[in-house]
Symmetry: C2
Subunit: 355 residues, 2 copies
């Protein structure tokens, strides 16, 4: 079978993945056959992973980036799962629970099922952010972790992270921030989300989303080494003592690509991309409102718009890769590959379809 | 920072990763920016994953390869973890346990810790294979899964899979075979290990090991769809109903590379590689025995040799990437990149060091 062509990103509007930065692609291709999971054999890529963690810790305002604990995960799901696992393992309760807003990514639900911990989801407020009172009411002595989202998948919202941290720590729980998508946008906003802004214990930030690394490259960063220590299992036949990662063999391409992208883009390249995406999202939202659609105001560059089902299907038929929120709105995520030109073409198709 | 060069494979003797097949590398580079975890957006790579599963099911002698359930995991750890999770979720016991030989890969220990199930490890026999009587004694009504290994990490041994299957099914448990490393070697041996040879329920086989795909590409294949159904969680905003994988975003490069390698090598290329590796392992074992070392007879092409610590360290200092079994023997894994020439150079260094 002749390998087919991967489709282009021209009409991909709902993905949180994007075209890698050219430097990331180049580095990934060179490190395709390396395994940071075996540092005694593949020492070069293992050193690159230390650099990746330092850079991710810098982006997330960790107090001591060169000493930060963390690793390059297979993606945001693994990072979230490991954060829940770490909290479960560190908490004394035998029946630990996790409290998260209903806006949390479905990976948090998956993590709870995998890890056999109770997940208590609480409502969001009218602005789709975690309802602080509901979170406070849901935590108890067995709460190991409170999850806040800094850039929700459905509406791009940022939860009140400092308040969630206070509630968590008052209850003896840890605070995890899921900034898988938002992490490379938020440094250029006024939101409180980082290690410097709030008592964050663990944080997810994915190079393979807005970081412009290559898949697979998620990121888990912890304030204290103890968070990673709680994940370690013994590793015979690797000439290293223990392994805190979920997988054994891991992608050297993902690690090398993440480092190359961050070296190329932090901070100015990411700032420019974030500002352009914000301007595009605001412009698109205004254009949609002008056409009479209900639009959720883009807090981060993600536009949710209520389109009739027939319109949504017609746009998919025209090749637009769109997906829907749980409530049914179409989502447009202004990723680096989504140009103003692409958005104009999208609106032109929408105008053609609705008339 | 200028990205450093990844080290070459010239002296890598203990890794179960290897240089990808050129076709796999080419396909991986083309599909670097795709995500089979979002099939409604990245449909081309999603179709390739169906082909990967069919090919893996063919290699493992699944009764109906075109209808087999499975997916391309991030690696053998994820595949093993998902097999344990599936069994736990399908078994009625609230306190399910898993029975595995002590030779099982440490990922099985990791899986048990993550999934909060009891792991009962049982001794191996004098030939480092699961002791059938010990396994039979360890299972009970709460045993959800019996694990057999077809190609152990330390000694390359193949457990008595049909007998393990009988014990498992008699106890109402499932049988999982870990052929992460051995899966592309075993079809060319007389061992009983596959879906055709035994009542195997789930099986791990990694394209990124002897399959010569690119990292990350593990494989989980199931006899029945119900094994995968037990892993499904709901997926809002993906335009697909559910997701059975552990990660969300996954590597299109891993999937495309796996398909390209299997298309190029199944079955003749893999047979030639397996026969060459077997000959090299036998030759190396004989050479080491002739030098007076204790060698574990290579059943699959993995040579464990008892070297003095000072010799082991001197070989590592000479650049040989060697690791040790739990009992301390050096391991040489005859992967495709380990040529007879490399083994001669290794022996020459050994001879220089020991005199």
């Amino acid at each position: 079978m002749q390998s087919p062509e991967p489709q282009s990103f021209d009409r991909v509007l709902s993905s949180m993945c994007t075209e890698p930065h050219p430097a990331a692609r180049e580095a990934a291709e060179r490190f395709l056959a390396t395994n940071p999971g075996d540092p005694a054999t593949y020492d070069t890529v293992a050193a690159l992973e230390e650099r990746a963690v330092e850079l991710l810790a810098t982006v997330t305002d960790h107090p001591t980036p060169t000493e930060a604990s963390g690793y390059v995960t297979g993606g945001g799901t693994e990072a979230n799962l490991q954060a829940v696992r770490s909290a479960r393992n560190r908490h004394p309760a035998a029946d630990a629970n996790v409290v998260a807003p209903e806006s949390a990514h479905f990976s948090v639900h998956k993590a709870a099922e995998v890890l056999d911990v109770e997940l208590r989801t609480v409502p969001v407020d009218d602005e789709y952010r975690a309802d602080i009172n509901a979170v406070a009411a849901a935590v108890d002595d067995a709460t190991a972790l409170v999850v806040g989202v800094a850039g929700t998948t459905e509406y791009g919202r940022v939860d009140p992270i400092p308040e969630l941290g206070r509630i968590a720590h008052d209850a003896g729980a840890f605070l995890h921030v899921d900034a898988a998508w938002g992490g490379f946008l938020l440094p250029f906003t006024d939101h409180d989300w980082s290690f410097a802004d709030a008592p964050v214990d663990t944080l997810t930030i994915d190079p393979h989303k807005c970081g412009r690394g290559v898949v697979p490259a998620g990121g888990l960063i912890a304030r204290e080494p103890a968070a990673l220590d709680a994940l370690a299992v013994e590793t015979p036949y690797l000439e290293t003592r223990s392994q805190a990662t979920l997988n054994g063999t891991r992608s050297g391409a993902g690690v090398a690509g993440a480092v190359a992208a961050m070296e190329a883009l932090w901070p100015d390249g990411y700032r420019e991309a974030a500002e352009r995406a914000a301007a595009d999202a605001t412009w698109l939202a205004d254009e949609l409102v002008a056409r009479g659609y209900d639009v959720t105001e883009p807090e981060l560059p993600l536009v949710a718009v209520d389109l009739p089902d027939t319109t949504f299907e017609a746009l998919r038929d025209a090749g637009w890769k769109l997906s829907r929120t749980g409530a049914g709105e179409a989502r447009v995520v202004c990723m680096p590959h989504v140009t103003r030109e692409a958005l104009r073409a999208f609106l032109a198709d929408l105008d053609r379809i609705r008339t």
